[in-house]
């Protein structure tokens, strides 16, 4: 056991978020939560920022962390800290949007895909990475809330099951949202999928 700890220290292997959270729940020592915040703050902020913009993202981010700190003892090591945090943040976000009467989502809007001008084959060839990035950003911002959410969560490393848990829906629904989101994005940035 001591050898393992020694090796870990020697190799400077970072402690998992889950271990840090369990230690924080147990001791309340600031250093543990500080490390977790340092690791996950940017991911969470980006998710919230992408969904509602900077102002509300900052507020909801704080609310979510406050809840994590307050309910630290209810964290269970059966899931990851990151998925727990995102789940809390998402609930806080939707509560806030409901309070502001801004919570209005449509499940699927396929018409969106064809509303944008798709670059021609010739345009693809000359489209440089900067242009592609700009098109991606524009398309990303215009994705419906739930599709963008599913896409972000997948890019953040969550598995389908975790996304379904965070967003309180079925895995099949998550798959559909991802399919639509990626279809829109790939079409608009000028990438094409085989067989499509």
């Amino acid at each position: 056991m001591n050898i393992t700890i020694g090796l870990k220290n020697w190799l400077n292997i970072a402690e998992s978020n889950e271990n840090l959270m369990l230690k924080y729940a147990d001791s309340g020592e600031l250093k543990y939560i500080k490390e977790i915040v340092k690791r996950l703050e940017k991911d969470l902020y980006h998710y919230l920022f992408s969904q509602v913009g900077p102002e509300l993202a900052s507020d909801v981010c704080q609310m979510a962390w406050e809840k994590v700190i307050k309910n630290r003892r209810s964290f269970s090591d059966t899931g990851t800290v990151k998925s727990w945090l995102f789940k809390i943040a998402r609930s806080a976000l939707i509560d806030e949007l409901r309070k502001q009467q801004r919570w209005q989502v449509e499940e699927f809007d396929e018409s969106n895909i064809n509303d944008h001008s798709t670059p021609s084959k010739a345009q693809f060839d000359v489209m440089n990475e900067i242009e592609q990035q700009q098109r991606f950003d524009a398309a990303f911002n215009e994705l419906p809330f739930l599709q963008r959410e599913a896409f972000i969560l997948q890019q953040e490393g969550f598995r389908l099951r975790e996304i379904a848990q965070i967003t309180h829906c079925e895995m099949e629904t998550v798959k559909s949202r991802l399919r639509y989101a990626k279809q829109t994005l790939t079409t608009l940035i000028g990438e094409t999928r085989e067989g499509e």
Binding site: V37, K38, Q62, E66, Q133, I189, E194
Partner: protein, 199 residues
Amino acid sequence: MSNKHTETRLQECYENRKKNVIPPPNLQEAILANAKQTKPSIWKWVSWQYAMGIFVAVIIFGWNRNDAPLQTNEQYSVVATYNTDHTTTYYHDVTFLSADQNDVKNIKENAHYQQYLAAIESLKDKRKLPGIVKSIDNEIVIQVCDVGVFQLSREMVNHLLHAPSHSQMVAGKAVYLMADENGFITAIENRDSLQQCPS
């Protein structure tokens, strides 16, 4: 282009986008400030005792005369501070101390003790403090109307409950804390529960 290539390209675009979204510089500070305020109950006591060592000024010593129902000559401390909900809290009898006339003198000159006396002075009868029994973090406390939370040590509660005119300490019960001329609790008595906080 292959699906793999597309996935990679989407991932790259996503990562590039993410790089440009930077959290406000004060966000982490605000989150950690909240974490600093929230501590588990055991830490509340540890840090409170630690703070007690540093801020000697918040410690007030008292003693009970022979005429008090506590029937003890020991002094006990009363500490005026705040709990985790930022409510003014008066911790009574956290530690028993030996009787020392010098300490008695110190108590009366202590600003926090004067503050405590001034707080109970606002009540109609400072010898009879109306309150409601509550339970916070497994500790029995009494919310004294218009003054703050009074937390009595378990030893003190046990002592008072063995007194002849004791009241059961059940959450939600309306009680009077009977205080002596120095503001130290000498007994707990029943109060008409219909009248939560007398105006």
